[in-house]
Symmetry: C2
Subunit: 414 residues, 2 copies
Amino acid sequence: MVRNVGFKSQEKVESALKKIFRNVKVIGVEEVSVYNSAGRVLAEDIVANFDLPTLDRSAMDGYAVKAEETFGASETNPIMLKIIGEVRVGELPSVEVESGSAVKVFTGSVLPKGANAVVMLEFTKSFGDFVEIFRSVTPFKNVLRAGEDVRKGEVVLKRGEIIQPQDAGILASLGFEKLKVYKKPVVAVISTGNELVEIWKKLEGAKIYNSNNPMLCNAILSLGFSAKSLGITRDDPREIENKLLEALSFDMLIFTGGTSVGAHDYVPEVVSKHGEILFHGVAMKPGMPTAFGIVRDKPVFMLPGSPSACLLAFETFVVPALYRMMNVRIVERKGALKKGVLQSRIPSELGVRSYVRVYWDNGKVYPVRISGSGILSSLVKANALLIIPENLEGYEAGEEVEVMLIRDLTEVFE
Amino acid sequence: MVRNVGFKSQEKVESALKKIFRNVKVIGVEEVSVYNSAGRVLAEDIVANFDLPTLDRSAMDGYAVKAEETFGASETNPIMLKIIGEVRVGELPSVEVESGSAVKVFTGSVLPKGANAVVMLEFTKSFGDFVEIFRSVTPFKNVLRAGEDVRKGEVVLKRGEIIQPQDAGILASLGFEKLKVYKKPVVAVISTGNELVEIWKKLEGAKIYNSNNPMLCNAILSLGFSAKSLGITRDDPREIENKLLEALSFDMLIFTGGTSVGAHDYVPEVVSKHGEILFHGVAMKPGMPTAFGIVRDKPVFMLPGSPSACLLAFETFVVPALYRMMNVRIVERKGALKKGVLQSRIPSELGVRSYVRVYWDNGKVYPVRISGSGILSSLVKANALLIIPENLEGYEAGEEVEVMLIRDLTEVFE
């Protein structure tokens, strides 16, 4: 390859990434609304200020009772209790369950004092002020206990976690209206080349349209970062220098074109005048004429002008750097399918599709203990989903299953 | 399961999706800037108005020559040509190559008249006005021919394609400043429940914070759609009705809570009063109390109030509906890893990481023909990337390889 000839040394991709991670730093922390926080990286551990649920609640529609009083109840030998009131969802109980009585409750009702279990509506029959109980319940049956979802003082989410929609849900449940997150970098994009014209101008002679700026701006925007196109500079060291100095007001700079070792490749030279070049020339194809430097603490990427090489170098080096500025390295993106061996049996109802929240760890799949779909933390503690199709009755422990990651797997830098 | 009891019938997940796809329609077409178009769905085929490149160009730094005049050239028997000028990138040639002459060119220079090939700089040595050629070149060697990347009249991207950054690049190259895309739906999110309070208020008594609205707003926003929280309504048919009518100004409505068959579940009843319920009760767990209806042409989703069930039902039904409104069904998301059998040999240089653009089709992997990284269309015609690590010299035809999708695989509805 001709192009190789010019580079004194070619940095290996992994070694180039290490240099980027060592030299790029977090740019700061800011507060965002929990309503628009997905994709942001938490800059603080989140500790629960109170229990979730705050009080014992019924997990079913039915009757709150003293469990002990239902022992021995059956279809043929029902137990009769007096209905002394009801607790509507969202209201505090105004009655107390005493011996021989029951209180009507709904899914989510606060459990009245004196009761310690709920009999499901299906296993009861009411006659005026009285209800027949056809099944016995054990203490705390059909009760979601205070703190069962989240316990006060528990670390719910760790610094460095990329916030998922379900995280926003639990954070809202815990009263976190604002969240401290790492600032997202704003990136300046500059194309260099005498042949380039902007798309809104007329294409004449030997000119070509600037396609790298729209390509990179889209790539940056679609990751949720901000991008600003600073247009085109000619292959002229003075012009490149002026643009470099102007662009230093942004968090990161990307130049494309003029990064090789040809007669008109001035960008690395200009960057080295004002800062330090960490590498120039990478052992990748396409993408070899990629360089990276730091100017006044700002990362400066110099990407090849050839569009395919430019985009591949962007994905390989710039994307990890953007996340580095938010203090995380993405090890695996959510949505990825992972295989793993199920660590305990999961039953499922035939004819129903089950979405089982699991924790995938290095080839092992652990079901996340769940007492009901009301438990929001199950989607926060799980990192993957196991879908059991309608035609299966579940999976046995030891079976290999395929799960889908529902959160990004990340590592924190600082 | 108690909850099942109440549903007259349970719609299977696939059948529910079919009803959604049949009843949800495209909401319109709008124009967006190519600079901010990634993730949007093309509403028109894109046909190239001119060739790319527009003129024959050099793919290397070197000398433009008549190929025939280099035949027989070698290190020991170089051929001497007169340098009659140079063509800088972005300028039209001012000279013509005649017998016995050569013109200096750079990567991207327009090929001067009379020349039909380029000898790479490495295989030449210049002495003043003369250059020694050490290698022969065949006609059009190191030349990127006009139309080689994209030919005038070619369909570059099809209606229904989700625009990727590289697509924005080629669209800009072809002078498309504005693109016709399907409108993105704006979604109204409403929680119902007497127990709910907004996060900015004080939590008292039996109340809990509204977590579904922030959860769903984040889920919608992070997919690139717009969301508006319309707050909380109490479990009151009149209040729900008012909110429904208010929310009909949006493109899609999502209610959470009050969707089951309990005493205080009024949402499906109110929706059916003003429109049609397509299904109520789905054979999925969690997520069974999910309903879907159409009111005055607007899709109305009724999701369970339990947060986990709510989010899983959202992902299962609402996300496909949102894309349905942009006329596509996503079959597979980019980033997914796919296995396939390589259909032809791909060599790679030892010590260099190669990024090979390939087309994955149902278990077969076809390398996309490339004449250089300057060929932008390679990243547009490819749908996947094969990365060859530094320690391999490539892959043989017939080998099974793993590739990563670089564009969403989609199907168009209308």
